[in-house]
């Protein structure tokens, strides 16, 4: 009983304290600060939440890597980057630039003043993607009449009429320059290839093919580049090459945190960029989808008629 009374009295005391504090809040400055802290905490929570929701936007970096600026701070210019992004979106409104990766097979039709039909079509495997902003480039490689040919295109070139992805896939490596030294069948693609349509929602397939290299001499020292897409590199090596490879190896480079940092755009900066362009990119993607559906519906009708 006595305990209960004590408790109740202490409760009352606490409540009184609380009231007093609450009244004091208006007068003193300290509680205001506390409120500010609370507000910041809620902001942080919100920030984390938005991060979670923006994860889908962050995935854009694989599909549209050219929207990210150059990581070298000497070449950064926020205004230029912003204008370039706007121009890129405008160009994407005009022409369908599809999702593709190094290793995908593309067909590119350009307006060519030198050719007879005023257009020129080239089919090949994408061996490299580089550059950022409006200067983004990709290189196609093909073997035509036993002659290896590579053509470099600007992604946002206004003379490009159609970019069509014939086979959407990735390869094991980021750059496929070793196809220059590989047997020609690995980079031979017919010009009348039919596009392969992936069912919607499937992830981009990884092609685990390992190419065979021609015997030496090679254009580059492929053995030092840690390539996963080459099967017979050890056959062509001498003891000397293996020793040199060991000497030239840089196993510490994957721990060089600042080197990695200087090659990437930090997540905070990326969030700003994707927040700027994501909605328009999504909208474009949806409209393209609708258009392609319409086309698939319209073609059988013409056949029937």
């Amino acid at each position: 009983m006595a305990l209960a009374i004590r408790r109740s009295t202490s409760d009352i005391f606490c409540a009184a304290k609380w009231f007093i504090r609450r009244d004091c809040r208006v007068l003193s400055t300290l509680p205001e600060k506390a409120e500010v802290e609370v507000a910041t905490v809620t902001k942080k929570e919100k920030h984390i939440r938005t991060r979670g929701s923006r994860n889908s936007a962050l995935e854009n970096r694989f599909v549209y890597p050219e929207f990210l600026p150059d990581p070298n701070p000497n070449w950064r210019n926020s205004l230029r980057e912003k204008l370039e992004r706007a121009d890129m979106l405008k160009r994407r409104n005009q022409i369908d630039i599809p999702e593709f990766y190094v290793g995908s097979i593309l067909a590119v039709t350009v307006a060519d003043q030198h050719s007879q039909g005023k257009t020129n079509k080239f089919v090949g495997i994408c061996i490299e993607r580089k550059g950022c902003g409006l200067r983004a480039e990709f290189t196609l490689r093909n073997v035509v009449d036993h002659q290896g040919i590579e053509v470099r295109y600007d992604l946002y070139d206004p003379t490009i009429q159609i970019i069509q992805v014939l086979r959407l896939e990735k390869r094991l490596d980021e750059k496929l320059f070793y196809l220059r030294d590989a047997l020609p069948e690995y980079s031979t693609f017919p010009f009348d290839m039919d596009p392969e349509i992936l069912p919607e929602g499937t992830p981009v397939p990884l092609n685990p093919v390992q190419v065979k290299l021609k015997p030496r001499p090679w254009l580059e020292r492929w053995e030092r580049q840690d390539l996963k897409g080459v099967s017979n590199i050890e056959e062509h090596l001498k003891e000397k090459d293996r020793v040199r490879r060991e000497l030239r190896a840089t196993p510490w480079e994957k721990y060089d945190l600042m080197k990695q940092y200087r090659q990437t755009i930090p997540i905070e900066d990326q969030n700003d960029i994707w927040a700027e362009v994501n909605s328009q990119l999504q909208q474009l993607h949806m409209t393209r989808k609708k258009m392609s559906r319409k086309r698939t519906f319209s073609t059988p009708k013409t056949q029937l008629g």
Binding site: V110, Q113, N120, D154, D157
Partner: protein, 150 residues
Amino acid sequence: MLKSVVSKLISAQQTCGFHTTACLNEVRLLTRLRVVDNSEIGKRAMAEGKPPKVICVYNKTRVGYIGDRVLVAIKGQKKKGILVGLKQTQKVKVPKFDSNNVVLIDDNGTPLGNRIHVPIPTILRTILKEKTHSKGADYTKLLAIATRFV
């Protein structure tokens, strides 16, 4: 003094004293070319494994670019040819080939063979037409024997 110089030299050797960037693959004096037409002399030279060498590039820089006229030494003879495909890095939309290709011509610009068995860059059309205007020789005959353009 001598010691310091020697140590510097040794360290330079260890850290690779000369530059090792990829070569430019320019067509210059004594570059080996690949004959891509079916002229008799060209076919035999390629079959014997003695591809022609550049003796002279007919322009001011003496570095051959696409469509330039070259003088080649082939099977002990001097022949003229036109570069129709280069290994060197090209401008955007101009194809880059895996070998330096040449088509043999005579002094009037008439090709020695009657067929080219590799693709020809379309930009050659414009280049050769321009060159024909300035010179007396007619190089556009080369385009007529091409089988394929890229």
